[in-house]
């Protein structure tokens, strides 16, 4: 067999094998006892939208623990394997078996000052403390102190809060979120909820009579009055906590309701919907360790959604499948693999490796695109609606640009760009997903698909192409300084790629920015308001224009173009993330410690590369 044969057949074979690995993962996990995945398919309304319990579980766990599965033994380090449970199992326990769930180390706290403030134990593996994960029960004694501290910090201006103060707010949010989950299906700490519910139902006539008698100044049964009042107080708390809405209306045009509201309405004579009892049965089965009872209660609950809410079930089924598919995570892994192959191909100049890389990128792009389209369909929105989806879309656009470059130049450079940016942007997206629901509802101003589809998409493509140019600049410098692979031809071809991409970037960032202005003019009556995000986008436009004019004027040539393109990375990352961290303006999404650290590191590294690229040419390996 000759070399040609390998070149032709190994790449598709590899791609097919990895594709198969991806498809196999899509199968639903087999559950021998409790069908928590079926529980995960039940529809709820949270954050203003219909979603499956599965998404609620994953997003909540991400916000609380920064993971999608719960590690029950975080103190166990490698090589021991700690016990982990899926998000849905955790959620079911928080909602219906609090006494167990409240002992699980689910709250991830990173700020040492906050840990001290909450009087929590430090790292002590012998006592099963990893110094980062704490349970509800562990934090509970400090709730009051945290609440006071939270009130104080909330009054500090966002831009002036320090790391500890931001940690206080975050921990408070995490606890509030957890408490709302505890009160979603039954009162928190309800022991035997099924019995309590039945007692309450039976007590309603007597309870109402007692209340009425008391109001009329007549004799009433104090014991009944107290018990009834206690129940109502608990339900009112459930209603006020902003819990997810779990009870659908009898007929579709009506409003979904919170469990607490439905229970309170029962006191006014409204019938208690069967779903309430079924959820109580579900909880009782979970407490009793009765898997069959649990599974049949889930089946009963699902049956109640048919036929009026069949569409809701269809939507949640689709979303659960999407959650399991994890297209962006899987695409990210394949991009890494492809990137490594492509870099190796530079050195031994193996055409087989390069082709493997291209095939894998195509596969990852296919999965990436599937995920993107799936999201668009689930959400009924254009691809970019928030910072998270902008990361996914920037990666997507950059991968396509990289593949196009690879198609024309066939030298492995486009492949490295595609897989490199694809990987980095998807990592960023993974981290942004920690903030909660990534398919959040659009506020009134943004609630406009036309502008989301035009301004946002175009400006994001502008970001993507500026990053591609910057990445090409990095390749130019790194290959030139550290390897002998930057010959005259490669250098010229890189410079040509950079120039072409900068032109493209100028067009997209300009049009995108101006479209943003026009949107602002349509909604607020001002085309330009010097908002930080607007300014960030303007700087990208100005930078790209600057690079082009310097090139046209002969002020920079091949190397200068590469260095200037690296500068584009700084400018773009500033606009994409930096301005959001200022804590001011219309696009301020809050400041995260980690994001700031990474942005600073990124900017510093880019400056370093510019400095590296500025050393005299005779020190470059490629010049020797």
């Amino acid at each position: 067999m000759n070399k040609k044969f390998f070149q032709k057949w190994i790449p598709p074979f590899l791609a097919a094998a990895i594709g198969l690995w991806f498809v196999v993962q899509l199968e639903r996990p087999r559950e021998e006892t409790f069908a928590f995945s079926k529980f995960g398919g039940l529809p709820v309304i949270a954050d203003g939208r219909l979603k499956p319990m599965d998404t609620l579980a994953r997003d909540s766990l991400l916000q609380i623990d920064a993971r999608q599965t719960l590690n029950l033994q975080p103190w166990l380090g490698w090589p021991k394997t700690p016990k982990t449970i899926p998000a849905t199992e955790w959620l079911a326990n928080v909602m219906m078996r609090g006494d167990t769930a409240n002992r699980w180390p689910v709250f991830r706290l990173d700020n040492p000052d906050l840990i001290t403030f909450l009087k929590l134990p430090g790292k002590d593996l012998a006592r099963h403390e990893d110094g980062q994960h704490y349970s509800w029960d562990q934090i509970a004694p400090s709730f009051e102190a945290l609440d006071r501290e939270n009130t104080r910090v909330a009054n500090v201006e966002a831009a002036h809060r320090d790391a500890y103060e931001r940690a206080v707010l975050k921990a408070h949010d995490q606890l509030v979120l957890y408490a709302s989950l505890q009160n979603t299906l039954q009162p928190q700490d309800a022991g035997d909820w099924k019995t309590q519910l039945a007692d309450y139902q039976a007590m309603i006539p007597a309870g109402v009579a007692a209340v009425e008698a008391r109001e009329a100044g007549k004799k009433y049964d104090q014991a009944v009055f107290n018990a009834f009042g206690n129940d109502l107080q608990e339900f009112d708390f459930m209603r006020q906590l902003g819990t997810p809405l779990v009870i659908p209306p009898e007929n579709p045009p009506g409003q979904w309701q919170r469990m607490g509201a439905v229970l309170m309405d029962a006191a006014k004579g409204r019938p208690i919907p069967p779903m309430v009892t079924d959820y109580a049965n579900l909880g009782a089965a979970l407490r009793a360790g009765d898997a069959d009872g649990f599974n049949s209660a889930v089946a009963d609950l699902r049956a109640l959604f048919i036929p009026a809410f069949s569409h809701a079930l269809a939507h949640t089924r689709a979303e659960v499948f999407f959650n399991r598919m994890q297209p962006f995570y899987n695409a990210m892994i394949i991009y890494v693999l492809a990137g490594l192959l492509a870099i190796f191909s530079w050195f031994n100049l193996s055409e087989t490796l390069r082709r493997c890389a291209v095939w894998l990128i195509a596969l990852a792009l296919f999965i990436h695109t599937t995920g993107l389209i799936y999201r668009i369909a689930l959400q009924g929105r254009p691809p970019v609606t928030n910072l998270y989806s902008s990361a996914i879309f920037i990666g997507w656009g950059a991968v396509i640009l990289g593949l196009v470059l690879e198609k024309f130049h066939k030298n492995g450079i486009g492949a490295v760009v595609a897989s490199g940016i694809g990987f980095v942007t998807l990592i960023i997206a993974q981290n942004l997903a920690l903030d909660g629901d990534t398919m959040e509802m659009m506020r009134a101003v943004l609630n406009n698909n036309f502008w989301l589809a035009t301004h946002v998409v175009v400006v994001t493509l502008g970001y993507a192409s500026t990053f591609v140019a910057g990445f090409l600049g990095l390749i130019y410098v790194l290959r030139g300084v550290f390897t002998r692979t930057l010959d005259a031809g490669t250098g010229r071809s890189l410079a040509r790629m950079i120039y072409g991409i900068v032109c493209f970037a100028t067009l997209f960032s300009f049009v995108g920015t101006v479209l943003g202005g026009i949107w602002a003019d349509q909604s607020w009556g001002r085309f330009w308001g010097w908002d930080p995000k607007e300014n960030g986008a303007l700087i990208i436009v100005l930078w790209n224009a600057l690079v082009l004019h310097m090139r046209w004027g002969g002020m920079i040539r091949e190397r200068g173009l590469a260095l200037a393109a690296i500068g584009g990375n700084i400018v773009t990352s500033w606009s994409w993330f930096g301005v959001n961290m200022l804590g001011i303006g219309l696009h301020s999404y809050g400041f995260t410690e980690a994001a700031f650290k990474w942005l600073s590191l990124f900017v510093a590294s880019q400056l370093l590369f510019v400095a590296l690229g500025s050393i005299p040419l005779r020190l470059w390996k490629s010049a020797a």
Partner: protein, 424 residues
């Protein structure tokens, strides 16, 4: 002389000047963004963008002694550079048509923004459901208005912009039979109720609102959301001598600020007490000269609509996503009535769908409506941003020109590149 002019032209049309200006533009935009953290958007804007030269920077506690060109200077210089290049350097060829179109588009944008900056006027109008108004109000500026009866339900209004009120200023107006002397003026102030049992200093004036309220000077605000509420101590002098001193304050004539005071007193002392305080705060102040009564107050500067057309809020709708307080949709149904043209129609104004009428554009801005408002016992209301901007279309034209120009140009490149590859 000729030589100097030649050098000037050479510099003016040079690509290097473009590059330098673009670099300065990047710096000033960046600095102007950072400055917003401490200075607020409004101050940063006037300090860096609406400015010819910037002397010294003070960023996040760092003082940097530099002189930078401000936004105006960069904009005008870029404009001159572009126009000069068009006149002297660019030669029209088909191959360069795209580049020229794109640059012409940039000129349109820059010119348009310059015009907008000079010509555009913004104001707001707040309407409660059922209310009708034929004017909008400035969101930041105040005026001292003297109102007198002109018979048959009409009013004479003489408005003096707050900007003209400076300590020591003496103001005469042909339509007023008296002179106003400004004893003191504070750009920003805060009100304090002169509770009878507390140790108060002597009141600033013995007439009107000053008997019950003190208005203390406070530091001017820099934030976008807060506004400066001015207060002045004036004395009114007629031909035969002084008629007295009065305190006039934005706190007594601006509905928005009155509402703030009401909320704060409701929280502290209950609704009943708040009502009493507000009554004293908003009691009209007036003076009688020559048999005519003049009522005066410090109120947000009014902009009357052209042709005296009026606007009525019929219904304000505020939808939220279920189970959240995230706004999904605001919309206001209004009625526009124009006595001149006899027009009388209903219009729906909502986010991203403004009403353009008589050279004014009405944008849905803020809203207090929906279940929460009704539950709190408030009348639903809606606030519109009113913009008069004769050059609002320039960004649209500029954007299309640049986009087309760049696309044409890059197509040339791409086609050239492709055909070269084919030829290989």
């Amino acid at each position: 002389m000729k030589k100097a002019f030649d050098i000037f032209v050479k510099v003016l049309i040079s690509l290097r000047l473009t590059v330098v200006l673009l670099a300065f533009a990047i710096i000033i935009v960046f600095v102007g963004t950072l400055a917003q953290v401490d200075e607020g958007l409004f101050r940063a804007q006037s300090q860096f963008f609406r400015q010819w030269l910037v002397f010294g920077l003070d960023l996040m506690g760092w003082k940097i002694p530099v002189i930078l060109p401000g936004g105006y200077l960069i904009g005008v210089a870029l404009l001159a550079n572009l126009i000069a290049a068009h006149v002297y350097r660019f030669q029209f060829t088909v191959r360069k048509a795209g580049i020229q179109l794109a640059h012409a588009g940039v000129i349109v944008l820059l010119l348009g923004q310059l015009c907008t900056d000079m010509l555009a006027r913004e104001s707001v109008i707040q309407l409660f459901q059922g209310e009708t108004k034929s004017w909008s109000e400035s969101a930041r500026q105040y005026e001292l208005a003297f109102l007198s009866d002109a018979g048959s339900n009409a009013q004479n209004v003489v408005a003096i912009p707050a900007a003209a009120l400076r300590s020591g200023a003496v103001i005469r107006n042909p339509n007023l039979p008296f002179t106003i002397r400004v004893e003191r003026f504070w750009q920003n102030s805060s009100p304090a109720f002169r509770a009878p049992m507390l140790q108060n200093g002597p009141p600033a004036a013995t007439n009107g609102v000053a008997r019950n309220f003190d208005f203390q000077p406070t530091a001017p605000s820099t934030s976008m959301d807060d506004k400066n509420v001015p207060t002045a101590l004036i004395s009114i002098l007629a031909g035969d001598g002084p008629l007295g001193d009065w305190v006039v304050s934005g706190w007594t004539g601006d509905d928005q600020m009155i509402q703030t005071v009401r909320e704060s007193y409701t929280q502290q002392a209950g609704a009943q007490m708040a009502q009493k305080v507000i009554q004293q705060l908003t009691q009209p102040q007036s003076v009688v000269v020559g048999g005519r009564k003049f009522t005066f107050l410090m109120r947000p500067r009014r902009v009357y609509f052209p042709d005296d057309f009026s606007m009525t809020l019929l219904k304000a709708t505020h939808n939220i996503y279920p189970g959240t307080d995230i706004p999904e949709h605001f919309q206001s149904l209004v009625r526009v009535k124009n006595p001149r043209s006899g027009e009388d129609r209903q219009v729906l104004i909502y986010m991203n769908a403004p009403l353009r009428y008589e050279g004014l554009t009405f944008y849905q801005y803020q809203m207090d409506a929906g279940q929460a408002t009704l539950d709190a016992g408030r009348t639903p209301s809606s606030v519109f941003q009113v913009v008069h901007n004769p050059t609002w279309l320039t960004p649209y034209a500029g954007c299309v020109m640049v986009a087309m120009g760049l696309t044409i140009q890059f197509m040339f490149h791409l086609v050239g590149f492709m055909s070269k590859r084919k030829a290989k």
